[in-house]
Subunit: 354 residues, 3 copies
Amino acid sequence: MTDATIEPFLRNGWYVAAWSDELDKGMVARTIMNEPLVVYRDQNGKAGAVEDRCCHRGAPLSVGKIVENGLQCGYHGLVFDTNGKCVEIPGQDNIPPAAKIRAYKVVERQRFCWIWMGDPALADEGKIVDYPWHDQPAKWPHRTAVMDIKCNYFMLVDNLMDLTHLGYVHTKTIGGNPKAHVNAQMDVTRTDQGAHYIRWMMDSKPPPTYVKGAGFAANVDRWQEFEYFLPGSIVQWSGALAVGKDAKADRNQDGFHLRVFHGMTPQTEDTCYYFWSTANGYRQNEPEATQQMYDEIYPTFVEDITILEGQQARVAREPDRPLVGIKADVAMTHARRSFRAALEKEQGLSRAAE
Amino acid sequence: MTDATIEPFLRNGWYVAAWSDELDKGMVARTIMNEPLVVYRDQNGKAGAVEDRCCHRGAPLSVGKIVENGLQCGYHGLVFDTNGKCVEIPGQDNIPPAAKIRAYKVVERQRFCWIWMGDPALADEGKIVDYPWHDQPAKWPHRTAVMDIKCNYFMLVDNLMDLTHLGYVHTKTIGGNPKAHVNAQMDVTRTDQGAHYIRWMMDSKPPPTYVKGAGFAANVDRWQEFEYFLPGSIVQWSGALAVGKDAKADRNQDGFHLRVFHGMTPQTEDTCYYFWSTANGYRQNEPEATQQMYDEIYPTFVEDITILEGQQARVAREPDRPLVGIKADVAMTHARRSFRAALEKEQGLSRAAE
Amino acid sequence: MTDATIEPFLRNGWYVAAWSDELDKGMVARTIMNEPLVVYRDQNGKAGAVEDRCCHRGAPLSVGKIVENGLQCGYHGLVFDTNGKCVEIPGQDNIPPAAKIRAYKVVERQRFCWIWMGDPALADEGKIVDYPWHDQPAKWPHRTAVMDIKCNYFMLVDNLMDLTHLGYVHTKTIGGNPKAHVNAQMDVTRTDQGAHYIRWMMDSKPPPTYVKGAGFAANVDRWQEFEYFLPGSIVQWSGALAVGKDAKADRNQDGFHLRVFHGMTPQTEDTCYYFWSTANGYRQNEPEATQQMYDEIYPTFVEDITILEGQQARVAREPDRPLVGIKADVAMTHARRSFRAALEKEQGLSRAAE
């Protein structure tokens, strides 16, 4: 089951298309599942995503502008609303019914702009990953980023569902001692919507960042928790409490808390967007601490990109060549299995619809 | 009829291969209709175009040099004349009959170097577009340019045969008020060799360039005239006369006159060369006025390139997807129809020859 | 027989994969015959080449590092020896038999790292080109280089087996008078392992470099000797002795001596590595003379690259189009014939093995 690394697109699911911050500055051109799109917020505040192609002469709408009634093509001035309907054609009053473009269902929530690329009838907003911390900027000040990676989006899921890579990929940054990562005890479970793992390091020495952040004077109980949600989100909570606070029973106590959101959105079969945010839950009143965490994490992810893009290049040369599983693959394997179950279901649905 | 934007090559027609100015400085390597060529003028002053590939080992002749008897290969010194005949092989006296390269019919005239890529038997020099103003540098001082654009050459014809785009593409430069362009009255006619339109703005305020150029003190009658000639030339005349001079009856009177030549030459199916020249017919004794007009037009055409290359990318993804016509397409549609009639004729000829 | 320029890979032969100097600094990632490899020397001093792809998740091993037991993957820490066997998997004691990667036979000798890409049973070390001068740095101080060229490797063999190109390609550097090169007398012979030629210029004026190098006061007898060894090596000896020393009978006397090694290794069908070294046999005690010769030769080879890459582009467009042979092709033709005989033998062997 883990003998491949390139996954096809799972269409019926919510993916991050953009950060709200990006739309604040104007429209954004993205390619998702091979489809060039414009993601934007209209003058009434409604977010939308339409194909990046005018129905008149095929010009890209992303070189147009946002006007009163919608998105205006930069070539001959046709205007489209967020449903893809043409609402204005310069020089004529009558708008033919064929004058429309593809539009995608979009939900802007918790600083994310989520997109649904599959069957619109199945687009259930209740299945969007909940990430309430983005709505609490005072308690969880955060920064967001988006990276363009030349690998299949699932390689990035694998990467995050297997922390043993820390000791090898991140030797210059957060890696530390490889054996510690390899030998840490993990609790891995498959969930309804993906897979979950937590690693505990009980009664251990807190790293410098933790000491500085939370003022620990003695040993701590540390955890790293990752949950994969179908199709392309991972929610991370890393933290530590002073020994004696019974962290395993209740982690929501004062201590060190870092939350990271990871969103993997397929651009093409062999490229993806990586949306991530880091939220500072330990020195909330210090904007420089939020920035510093971001500045530490950024080069770490660049180290991953080097590996991932090389992996993509190698695997794409010989996509059918078998790979060899190892024990450390356990959480990754659960994520893959959830994904493939969903994929089979989707493919079954589409066959049934034929 | 206008539901596509990518046109195949029309071979039986004269295209601009180079400017004479370019050949003054040496040979030029160009790719026309997918064929790599060298365009050059030999030491007797005869312009020619031959394939950019030596018959000996396939080296590109464009890294050779022009010598007494022709074009010398930069690898082993073989020399070819403008008919493609090998006239010298270092180290041997006998030249085998197979030692020849493809040559193309070329006519240098009025500062253009025209090339015929089709059936040589049909190459009628009488069908070359006449552009006498290039031969009158005192009356029409001009500047020439060539740009490399990543779009099918006919997208550029469309662009020029539809001035409603001025108000949207050129908002930062010459665009002005979109509605004025959209609502201007046009006379469009299909001609034997293409299509023609003229737009009149009677009794209107002259723009600053016009005032500066021709010293207008009051309103003018303005026109913009474009004529498309098969397969890839457009001749533009923009100008204005003082109201009362009866411009419609006779435009050849003192006033403001700007002539622009536009040549579209297919490089590949999705790239083209854009040859253009601007001739100053209003401040002929001021070389800086000629330069200034060129400097104003250059960035305007760069704005078009952004749109055209985006349009090419979008259309090439889904070449068979229908487009939606609008009223403003009228002149463009006539040009397309002329082109397709010529294309059908050419394809009929080639079928008949089989 | 010389009517093509692109040759397929000859697998059963020794190619240069790297210079020993390169391995002194760490591992080297190369692509040979379309296969991405890592060439490296392990901590016991044994050179090896393995595929640049981990068997676990396909990550490139070239972003890993050399550790005590072998080459460690930079993703999850698996370690491989020079035979491609996995010797360590972090987090588990048992190593499954499938955990292995492709390894290639490698011989490090005379500052070369030779690789065998064909049938391992046929890898006879006795057939490696002997180049003893690299082992005599006091007598033959030398410098090495590797270039990446976008042409089929055999185009580079052709280039070196035909010195008439000097007068056309190298007009700005070592070319001199084209006629002199074209008309020089050549002795060309086909050998068991390739082809050989020597050109003599008797009683001729020594060039400035020769005078400076060997202090000639009068005319010299000069030679240029090139020997092609299957599949991709050429050994060059250029030199001169004072007239009267009977150079033809014994060239191993004091005078001017320059040795150049040329190694052509196919990267893909249309790209190759060019390994070359220049050895100073005339001012051995002056390191600046060794460097100066290198600095003179480098730009000369860059002139060749311009031609070769253009030739590749032209030939690849129309690979089956015939070329026209000329008299100057004689040595090149012998090299091609040797190569094709070896190729036919190899293809016969592989058919017999089916």
